[in-house]
């Protein structure tokens, strides 16, 4: 492969799913318009959504899902030792995701509620970075294929990798959307990392913060705004907890 006169090797890549819906992996197999070019950049060594071949020699491991079983811990550690670079992708891998709701209840209670008397091997939900070193995170529920493509291209060409540091409001305002606070809703847009193209708020659904906090957010000012507008704090806390993305800030408050 040639780019600006430099040749590049295909990236040997593996993609692995843990506790999740595999929606993020599915995203990577989506967007047919660019799929052939995307796959052309990659040497797929292990990716069950795309190929039935399975090899353990990969440079980059994409890891999807949260970690909720002892065998997952071991499998993740093996992947880490095989990979040169480990990328956590999707809100579950990066933050614990929706699965983390389980952590609010005693484990036995959750198991009983879902599986009855059946014996289930389970642990409290952890993010990938709680277990192994993560080199880069791509958040989102699901991840944006366009963003993953951009990051893969950056890796291949050796250029700078980054996510937007600013919050969703920028992209939302660029779409001329009405601010959902003006409609009496609590929206996490002002504190959530952009890059989603404000897809939820454009559909008039308040942001639930699946991409996690933007850089250097003003959490205090955000909570003040919710109380000053006399919006329900319970609703705010529920939204903040939805993907488990704002735990570090919430703990500061309590």
């Amino acid at each position: 492969m040639q780019h600006l006169g430099f040749s590049h090797n295909k990236i040997k890549i593996g993609s692995f799913d843990f506790t999740c819906c595999e929606g993020c992996q599915l995203q990577l197999a989506n967007r047919e318009s660019t799929l052939p070019a995307f796959l052309e950049l990659l040497d797929i060594r292990n990716f069950r959504e795309i190929s039935s071949e399975k090899h353990d020699d990969y440079d980059i491991a994409l890891v999807e899902g949260s970690i909720t079983r002892e065998d997952e811990v071991e499998r993740l550690k093996t992947i880490r030792s095989n990979a040169k670079v480990l990328i956590a992708y999707g809100s579950c891998a990066c933050f614990g995701g929706v699965n983390s709701l389980k952590n609010r209840f005693p484990l036995e209670e959750s198991v009983k509620e879902v599986y009855g008397e059946k014996q289930i091997d389970t642990l409290p939900v952890r993010r990938v970075s709680d277990i192994v070193h993560v080199d880069f995170s791509i958040p989102g529920c699901p991840v944006s294929k366009e963003e993953v493509e951009r990051i893969v291209v950056s890796v291949v060409t050796g250029s700078m990798i980054g996510l937007p540091k600013y919050p969703v409001c920028v992209e939302c305002k660029q779409k001329l959307n009405t601010c959902l606070f003006d409609l009496g809703e609590i929206c996490l847009g002002p504190i959530t990392r952009a890059g989603c193209d404000a897809v939820c708020t454009t559909g008039k659904t308040p942001c639930l913060g699946c991409r996690g906090p933007a850089e250097d957010i003003n959490f205090t000012s955000f909570t003040e705004l919710v109380t000053e507008k006399q919006l329900p704090v319970d609703d705010m806390n529920e939204k903040l907890g939805f993907y488990n993305c704002f735990e570090e800030f919430r703990h500061d408050k309590s």
Partner: protein, 359 residues
């Protein structure tokens, strides 16, 4: 300038013909807020009935028609160890209807920045030359402060400006194109009575302002107050969300990025309007951030609007529309920040110490 009057039903016929023949944008109600107030934006209109002529103000300005939030400036193709750059300045003819004097003044300021300086932007030029602007006056909202900046009236920058004088519009025709369109319709020379009504209308608008922001001498005030604690005070409230700059009719700062195509055979150069309040606005290669603090970033937004441009180009770039103030979730608005700055100065103990008595 040519002055004419047109009866409102005839005006609607004129607008209808115009929008049916051209890609046109005008004010439309897009939502109703939680207190029951309508929210307007400039949206595409296909017939005169789509336009809310009685609108108050749009939540976002009209700047993105001339300098889009995001645009691809060029595309590079790599082949045989070389590259080619493909640039296109194509711009569809566009009609913008219902812009307020402050919106048109804002475009005049953008002209100064993007056209009238040493390096005119060909992208902006293509759009500007292909845009037909119809302005309309209005009674100010309680928080409009364009009069403080002398932008409650406008004399240039539009093709046609319409003042509401009851059952007619008083037209200020500023281009031959506008005059040629209007010739096909029933227009008349203004009578003495029409002139009087126009003067009354202007008086009424002028007297209806409820918000005044004192901008006299503001550049030096800002200079002196570089280390003022008020920047930290307002900075502590700021969410760094960039909303103010997105809705502002004159904020034109942008970020540029080169995005290689996924097949690595080309790359596109993309521009995105940015905001000096965003955390990485002043971040440079190597990761150093010249303005890591909210208060500093907020200060420099005010400096750009009321100090730098005022000193270099003899005018602030704020037009007083208060869109930023209305949109700010943290309740930061130019009136309160500027008044705070002056209040702080006026309550300073050194300044208010009494003069010695004459003996």
């Amino acid at each position: 300038m040519i002055y004419k009057v047109i009866a409102k039903p005839e005006f609607e016929k004129f607008i209808d013909a115009l929008v049916k023949a051209n890609l046109s944008y005008g004010p439309q109600q897009v939502d109703t807020d939680k207190d029951g107030n309508p929210i307007y934006q400039f949206k595409e209109v296909k017939a005169v009935g789509d336009i809310a002529f009685d609108y108050t103000a749009t939540a976002s300005s009209a700047k993105h028609f001339l300098t889009p939030y995001r645009e691809t400036l060029s595309h590079f193709t790599f082949a045989n160890g070389d590259w080619e750059q493909d640039i296109s300045y194509d711009s569809k003819p566009l009609v913008l209807i219902g812009l307020r004097p402050c919106d048109i003044s804002a475009i005049n300021i953008l002209d100064d920045v993007l056209l009238n300086e040493h390096f005119p932007s060909p992208y902006y030029l293509a759009r500007r030359k292909n845009t037909f602007i119809i302005g309309m006056d209005h009674l100010p909202l309680p928080d409009c402060f364009c009069k403080s900046l002398n932008h409650h009236t406008v004399t240039t920058g539009f093709n046609l400006f319409c003042s509401d004088i009851g059952d007619k519009y008083y037209l200020s025709i500023n281009s031959s194109k506008a005059y040629n369109y209007l010739k096909e319709f029933d227009i008349a020379d203004p009578t003495d009575e029409d002139d009087c009504k126009l003067i009354d209308r202007r008086k009424l608008i002028k007297q209806s302002f409820k918000t005044d922001v004192e901008v006299t001498g503001l550049p030096s005030f800002l200079d002196i107050e570089f280390d003022s604690p008020i920047w930290t005070k307002w900075g502590d409230k700021c969410l760094n969300c960039g909303t103010c700059a997105m809705v502002c009719p004159t904020c034109y700062c942008y970020n540029m990025e080169d995005r290689p195509d996924i097949d690595l055979k080309g790359s596109s150069r993309q521009k995105q309007l940015y905001s000096c309040n965003l955390v990485d606005f002043a971040e440079v290669a190597g990761g150093h951030n010249f303005r890591p603090k909210n208060g500093d970033r907020l200060k420099y937004r005010y400096y750009h609007h009321y100090l730098g441009f005022a000193e270099n180009d003899n005018q602030p770039i704020c037009v007083g529309c208060n869109r930023c103030g209305r949109a700010c979730l943290a309740d930061i608005n130019p009136k309160d920040v500027i008044n705070d700055l002056r209040m702080e100065k006026e309550s300073c103990m050194i300044c208010v110490s009494p003069s010695p008595d004459k003996t």
